[in-house]
């Protein structure tokens, strides 16, 4: 069941929510729409669902043009960020809702609901009401309810957005495994790049209503197509005026900003050929991962990332001199003039 989005544009008043969107989702794939809030990702999902109608362009699901098809006839499964469960109905009744609308025989409904309760691991909770369930359980009900009608495609709008960190991770891994079992063509919206990379086969990075890049998680991370993707997917140092580093062989002439990922920086306590002297101003331990804040000049710091073992080996102390050498840098000369709108400062996180 493929989904093809062709030249879709949509305006809300003067706000261009979607601009010339083209996506081709192959049957059985799990695709993430990734972008900051206001990037148009939710609008795109709602347009595919039929909750919005595009101004121009078309949506083709499984070969059928559904652009103007009533949402009720699209046979899509939709999962909401805030679950949108029917509060006055039990878990079983929630899951059965779509089947009852379709006038499915009672026996068949019962069988299907039992099957789905098993699938979403909610055995024994069938007679509970939504407000007697945890967030993770509610979203499982939401999923089961959407899957009950055997949808052609499954659309998930920030499905893990309302959950706390641990449950979020559990549920997203579970959804990935579920997808590997069920192979239902799925699109989910997220603003969390880690979530997109952990779950999706393919990521569509969006910004300002446009697509910045479409690719596998590896492609998007390793070969970002635009400065926006570089900075949105993964952390990055943006060196607009890298004079201090210019001596470095990696940094040739170009006046466009230079992008370096914190983990692409080698750190040592003594100089190497081509390395730059800096002062260590902060050590931020995040479990195994250690973030370093290195001052190159006044008001010019750069973030580097090492692990706990390296930290212990180098025996680093705040205030000492360390030498850094970028292993991998990237610049986007073709975006030299437009990059201004994306970044305003050195991005140290």
């Amino acid at each position: 069941m493929s989904i093809v989005v062709e030249r879709v544009s949509k305006k809300f008043g003067n706000f261009q929510a979607l601009e010339d969107i083209n996506i081709n989702v192959e049957s059985g794939k799990l695709v993430a729409l990734l972008g900051p809030s206001g990037s148009g990702k939710s609008t795109l999902l709602r347009t595919i669902a039929g909750l919005e109608i595009p101004d121009t362009g078309s949506i083709v699901i499984n070969g059928q043009d559904t652009t103007y098809l009533d949402i009720r006839k699209r046979n899509i499964g939709f999962v909401f960020q805030h679950y949108a469960l029917f509060k006055h109905l039990t878990v079983r009744q929630n899951i059965a809702f779509g089947l009852e609308i379709r006038k499915t025989p009672r026996q068949a409904i019962k069988r299907k609901v039992d099957e789905l309760i098993e699938l979403v691991q909610l055995r024994g909770l069938g007679d509970r009401y939504p407000n007697q369930l945890s967030g993770g359980q509610r979203q499982r009900v939401g999923l089961a309810r959407a899957l009950a009608v055997d949808p052609q495609v499954l659309l998930l709008d920030e499905p893990f957005g309302a959950l706390d960190a641990k449950v979020r991770k559990e549920l997203r891994d579970w959804v990935r495994r579920l997808h590997d079992e069920v192979h239902l063509t799925s699109i989910f919206v997220t603003h969390d790049q880690e979530e997109a990379m952990a779950v999706a086969d393919e990521i569509v990075v969006m910004n300002h209503g446009r697509i910045e890049q479409i690719g596998s998680p590896d492609e998007v991370y390793e070969n970002p197509a635009t400065p926006f993707v570089m900075s949105f997917v993964g952390e990055v140092n943006v060196l607009r005026n890298a004079r201090s580093l210019l001596s470095n062989a990696y940094l040739s002439s170009s006046s466009s900003p230079v992008y370096i990922r914190p983990h692409d920086i080698d750190i040592d306590t003594f100089p190497h050929p081509g390395s730059v002297s800096t002062m260590l101003v902060r050590i931020i331990p995040i479990g195994w991962e250690i973030q370093l804040e290195l001052q190159i000049e006044e008001n010019f710091t750069i973030a580097a990332q090492i692990n706990r073992e390296q930290l212990n080996q180098l025996d680093l102390q705040v205030g000492q001199q360390v030498y850094l050498k970028p292993r991998n840098v990237k610049s986007f000369p073709e975006f030299a003039h437009s990059s201004q709108q994306h970044f305003t400062s050195v991005n140290v996180k």
């Binding site: 669902a49 909750l51 949402i71 009720r72 046979n75 899509i76 499964g77 939709f78 909401f80 805030h82 949108a84 469960l85 029917f86 509060k87 006055h88 109905l89 809702f97 779509g98 609308i101 379709r102 009401y129 407000n131 007697q132 309810r145 959407a146 009608v149």
Partner: protein
């Protein structure tokens, strides 16, 4: 500390004295007045033809006004919470109008409009339909005065559940009517019933508007509250007290029902 405590008692005492004077003692006195000549006199008063007629008229009025208000209330609340249209906020405040204008004025408006010389009255009379001094007018006046109750109770609930559940139902294939019946209505049901209880209580007790519109003819167009007044004026104190006691009982029952429903409404699982 000590003075705080005594202040507290003085305040509570004042409130109790006030409530006793304006509420408790009068309420008890109504029942005393109804029964002080013995239960037989009370029953006799209830057996009077005029009382029976007033009771019947009141019940018929309520039986028509309640459904009218439910239907109108649901339609108005749904439109106001689901659709964006010009004059939406205006409509919202107009619905409150019956609360702020005097019922007597409301009744007078109806008389002027539907009376023999009114805009609609002459025409309606020509086709043999009498509004003023008859049941239609009483129903109109009652509905008008109780108009805001259902809408006011239902709107906040509809807003609270938001439209996400309804969108979810739509993605699952439900039609507008199915969404309303299976999602919206169950979500607002306690608020709706609560609104009906309030409408009911007010419909039963409405005096001002009905007195103007009905012409207050004992034995013909008098509702229970009007009957109370007429009976009292005609020195039928026991009959007046008996009818008042019945009204007071219904009022107390409404209050109890209201409390129970308010509690139920706060429990979304039931």
């Amino acid at each position: 500390m000590q003075t705080n405590k005594s202040k507290k008692f003085i305040l509570i005492g004042l409130v109790l004295v006030y409530l006793s004077l304006v509420l408790f003692i009068p309420a008890i006195y109504v029942f005393y007045g109804a029964f002080n000549q013995g239960i037989n006199t009370f029953l006799e008063a209830l057996g009077r033809r005029e009382f029976q007629q007033a009771l019947r008229l009141t019940l018929i009025t309520v039986a028509i006004a309640d459904p009218l208000n439910i239907i109108f209330g649901l339609c108005a609340a749904w439109a106001i919470t689901h659709k964006k249209f010009r004059g939406r906020t205006f409509l919202l405040s107009v619905i409150d109008l019956p609360f702020s204008i005097s019922p007597v004025v409301a009744g007078l408006m109806l008389v002027l409009l539907y009376g023999r010389n009114g805009w609609f009255g002459g025409w309606l009379e020509a086709i043999g339909f009498r509004v003023i001094f008859a049941l239609p007018g009483i129903v109109l006046a009652t509905s008008l005065v109780t108009l805001p109750f259902v809408v006011r109770e239902v709107i906040p609930l509809m807003e609270e559940i938001g439209q996400e559940q309804e969108v979810a139902a739509r993605t699952l294939g439900a039609s507008e009517w199915q969404i309303f019946r299976r999602v919206t209505l169950p979500s607002i049901r306690w608020g709706l019933i609560y609104g009906v209880v309030l409408t009911n209580a007010r419909s039963l007790g409405e005096f001002g508007a009905v007195a103007v519109v009905s012409g207050s003819i004992l034995g013909r167009t008098a509702t229970l509250p009007v009957f109370v007044e007429l009976a009292f004026k005609n020195y039928l104190a026991t009959a007046a007290f008996a009818a008042a006691a019945i009204l007071a009982l219904i009022g107390i029952a409404s209050l109890v029902a209201k409390e129970i429903l308010a509690k139920l409404a706060r429990q979304p699982t039931i």
